[in-house]
């Protein structure tokens, strides 16, 4: 049930912010500070999410095979690999490191 509540809230919230952008008058969100905050907010959230989903398990900080996978993704990004290759590199390296017994 909790999962459905979260899904309903996310679906409604995400749809309404999309619609808001199309409906509000152009001037409303055009203040420079609002724009810069809107650009930086995803940076902060994505960085925190990347770190947490790589280095945590069950509410504790851990260092495991996912760290190697993320490093592989980072290398793929530096080499300008396509999106799916980046994700694939992380998955393959994580599975490989785990298979080696980490």
């Amino acid at each position: 049930m909790n999962v459905w509540i979260a899904i309903a809230l996310t679906a409604a919230g995400c749809y309404l912010v999309k619609l808001a952008g199309l409906l509000v008058p152009a001037g409303a969100l055009e203040r420079p500070l609002v724009q810069r905050l809107a650009a930086l907010l995803p940076v902060a959230l994505l960085a925190a999410l990347t770190a947490q989903q790589t280095f945590s398990a069950g509410g504790e900080l851990v260092l495991d095979a996912r760290a190697a996978g993320l490093a592989a993704a980072a290398v793929a990004l530096v080499l300008r690999a396509p999106f799916l290759v980046v994700v694939g590199a992380a998955v393959v390296v994580t599975a490989g490191v785990r298979a080696l017994g980490w």
């Binding site: 909790n2 459905w4 509540i5 979260a6 899904i7 809230l9 996310t10 679906a11 919230g13 995400c14 749809y15 912010v17 999309k18 619609l19 952008g21 199309l22 409906l23 509000v24 969100l29 724009q35 905050l37 809107a38 650009a39 930086l40 907010l41 995803p42 940076v43 902060a44 959230l45 994505l46 960085a47 925190a48 999410l49 990347t50 770190a51 947490q52 989903q53 790589t54 945590s56 069950g58 509410g59 504790e60 900080l61 095979a65 996912r66 996978g69 993320l70 993704a73 980072a74 990004l77 999106f83 799916l84 980046v86 994700v87 590199a89 992380a90 998955v91 393959v92 599975a95 785990r98």
Partner: protein, 237 residues
């Protein structure tokens, strides 16, 4: 050229849009697998892709739920990630000049990829074609591959053994990397990582991500202060 869009034939716009739509649409696999691997049912996974349809928010939601976050903090993190779409909508509403009646339907497709393709077009006609073709392609593929990914994850059982729990963070990193353009973004990301990891053991699941979002206003505030103080130094000279 018989299409009336200066400089760019319709077919070229469609080709651009299909390229982006297909490449990103296929990554619904990664979402389907991650979501089902996080403990959501196939139905829940598919409803997310059908109704939320903004990838980063979907990944964030299933990640927060898997970590044991309550539905409200989990949804809040997903919502804040989705707020950038409001700013895309603002740009698109001027560019596409959609009739009022169409906007509630078009709104569902206002995401990173449709915005990027539309903004890259030289005319309103091309932008409308780009938005529509990217939207249709991405929506159909994202939902089909979500279903296949979720079914696949259920079939193979332990997704972690296949390294599939690394797909979520890799997606986030791939979305983040092109945003790290200047020292401002890098400082924000660095502080957010420290806050997100540092607060993880002490705050309830889902809350540390929201706290890490404070890195954005903090960096802007620090920048504003520094600019104000260098401004004063110049004035006093």
């Amino acid at each position: 050229m018989r299409d009336g869009s200066p400089g760019k034939p319709d077919a070229a716009v469609v080709r651009d849009a299909l390229g982006v739509g297909i490449a990103v649409g296929l990554s619904g696999f990664a979402f389907g697998v991650t979501s089902a691997g996080s403990g959501l049912s196939v139905l829940q996974t598919c409803v997310l892709s059908l109704l939320v349809f903004t990838g980063a928010s979907q990944f964030a939601l299933v990640g927060a739920l898997a970590a044991g976050g309550n539905p409200f903090t989990a949804a809040a993190g997903a919502f804040f990630l989705g707020t950038r779409n409001a700013f895309y909508g603002l740009r698109l509403s001027q560019l596409l000049a959609l009739p009022k009646a169409v906007r509630p339907f078009a709104a569902h497709w206002v995401i990173d990829e449709t915005t990027a393709v539309s903004l890259a077009q030289p005319s309103r006609r091309a932008a409308r074609i780009g938005f529509t073709v990217t939207g249709i392609t991405l929506y159909v593929l994202w939902n089909v591959t979500t279903l296949l990914g979720a079914l696949g994850a259920e079939a193979i059982g332990d997704t972690a053994a296949w390294g599939l729990d690394a797909a979520g963070p890799a997606v986030f990193l791939a979305l983040l990397a092109p945003m790290l353009k200047s020292a401002t973004e890098r400082a924000t990301a660095g502080i957010a990582v420290l806050l997100g990891l540092g607060l993880l053991p002490v705050l309830p699941a889902g809350v540390p991500v929201l706290a890490a979002a404070l890195a954005a206003p903090a960096v802007l505030w620090a920048q504003g202060r520094r600019r104000a103080s260098t401004g004063r130094e110049k004035d006093s000279r």
